[in-house]
């Protein structure tokens, strides 16, 4: 009994220490960011590795999600004679929720794990220590550009996801099912508001981008410098990022779309 309580206490304390260390890293990251952003080449490189390289998976996923939304939406809506509202259904689902959230989950899986593995392996290969011994701060040189690269890439990826999804929905709804194109677009344009829907979706994708990228960087930077350590860290990245994104999504949705 006492042993269990002791273990729980130690676990809690360990978690507190981890959270504290993570917060300290975040603040260091932000403090070093102006200098890091000054060397914008590094950030652009990271936008390429995190953004461009994720475009194919985001685009294809967005297309299929759009297809499915249109199909499922049509089956349900046409029972009430509201089949033309499928455009609005697809657009709102994507722009408000699925665009930011699914993109963040895919991003965590693809770009997040590659970040964690890269930094973990750099740590294991003593590259980060070598950098420190060369009087170069690894947080500024390695972590900060990747952080801002992810921050820039995520909302763009989410926008591409939503846009491709809407086009996918159009492909299924209009040529395939035969819904009137004008009704499709006009219902959508009537139902989707640029500020409260698209704007909030963009804010969500920014928050998710920050979160997913930071979790990935943190896990890589603090992992055990062994093969097992790196592998455990990549798994933790996916799990933690996904949970964080979904939790934040709930909080943001409740704040944004409640009234």
């Amino acid at each position: 009994m006492m042993a269990l309580a002791r273990r729980i206490g130690a676990g809690l304390r360990g978690t507190l220490v981890d959270v504290g260390a993570a917060t300290r890293l975040l603040f260091t990251l932000l403090a070093r960011s102006p200098r890091a952003l000054g060397r914008f080449v590094l950030v652009r490189e990271q936008v390429f590795y995190l953004g461009n390289r994720s475009l194919s998976i985001i685009g294809v996923s967005g297309l299929f999600v759009g297809f499915v939304l249109a199909l499922q939406g049509y089956y349900t809506l046409q029972r009430y004679g509201s089949a033309e509202a499928v455009g609005m259904l697809v657009a709102l689902s994507l722009v408000r929720e699925l665009g930011p959230v699914v993109t963040a989950l895919l991003f965590a899986g693809r770009a997040g794990t590659s970040l964690t593995a890269e930094i973990g392996l750099m740590k294991a290969g003593e590259q980060l220590t070598a950098m420190e011994m060369m009087a170069v701060d690894p947080v500024q040189r390695v972590l900060a550009p990747r952080f801002w690269g992810g921050f820039i890439a995520m909302p763009l990826l989410a926008a591409v996801f939503s846009a491709v999804g809407i086009i996918g929905g159009w492909l299924v709804a209009v040529p395939l099912i035969g819904i009137d194109a004008g009704a499709f677009w006009s219902q959508m344009q009537g139902g989707v508001d640029i500020w409260s829907d698209v704007g909030n979706g963009v804010i969500k994708s920014l928050v998710f981008g920050l979160t997913a990228t930071f979790v990935a960087l943190l896990q890589g930077y603090t992992c055990k410098p062994t093969p097992e350590g790196v592998s455990a860290a990549t798994t933790r990245t996916v799990v933690l990022s996904s949970l964080a994104v979904l939790g934040l999504d709930f909080m943001l949705t409740a704040t944004m779309f409640s009234i």
């Binding site: 390429f48 461009n52 004008g182 006009s186 344009q189 009537g190």
Partner: protein
């Protein structure tokens, strides 16, 4: 500034992302009404617009001849003021009537324009006088119940008791 060999691709990516955002804003959202035909504006007042939304269609004989531009509340007459953009080629007499109709049982609502008999046509800035509001389901049900009750009341006067 140093250049990286990936710069062109990054630029392309940012452009694609920007285009996607623009697409979402314009095509999916209501930032612009992308109407390429020349239009003239008229307005109509309704007691109840029901579920009419901006960008809804304005049809006559089933053909789309315009779009709803905006809907506002007139607090002097306590009516809804609907501004309509009609295509330049669609000319209607001044005494045309506008009704709010529904496409399907729970479908999108649109304005149906029926021509009148006046010699003079509507021009920009005119107000359509004859309007019929949208059908509100609750009122319909209320009417139905009342008419049923009065039917029952008139056929069985002895046993009927007015509610």
């Amino acid at each position: 500034m140093q250049s990286s060999r990936h710069d062109a691709w990054v630029g392309l990516f940012v452009l694609i992302g920007g285009a996607a955002l623009l697409f979402l804003a314009l095509k999916a959202g209501n930032l612009l009404s992308l109407n390429f035909d020349e239009t003239y504006q008229v307005s109509a007042r309704f007691d109840n617009i029901g579920g009419l939304k901006p960008r809804a269609a304005v049809k006559s004989a089933g053909v789309v001849i315009g779009r709803v531009e905006s809907i506002s509340f007139d607090d002097k007459t306590f009516q809804a003021k609907v501004t309509i953009n009609l295509n330049k080629g669609a000319l209607f007499p001044k005494d045309s009537s506008a009704k709010i109709l529904t496409a399907g049982l729970l479908g999108e609502q649109y304005i149906g324009l029926e021509p009148g008999a006046d010699e003079k046509n509507l021009v920009a800035g005119d107000v359509i006088r004859q309007t019929q509001s949208a059908v509100v389901l609750e009122n319909l049900i209320g009417q139905f119940i009342n008419s049923k009750a009065s039917d029952m009341g008139s056929t069985t006067p002895a046993s009927g008791s007015k509610p």
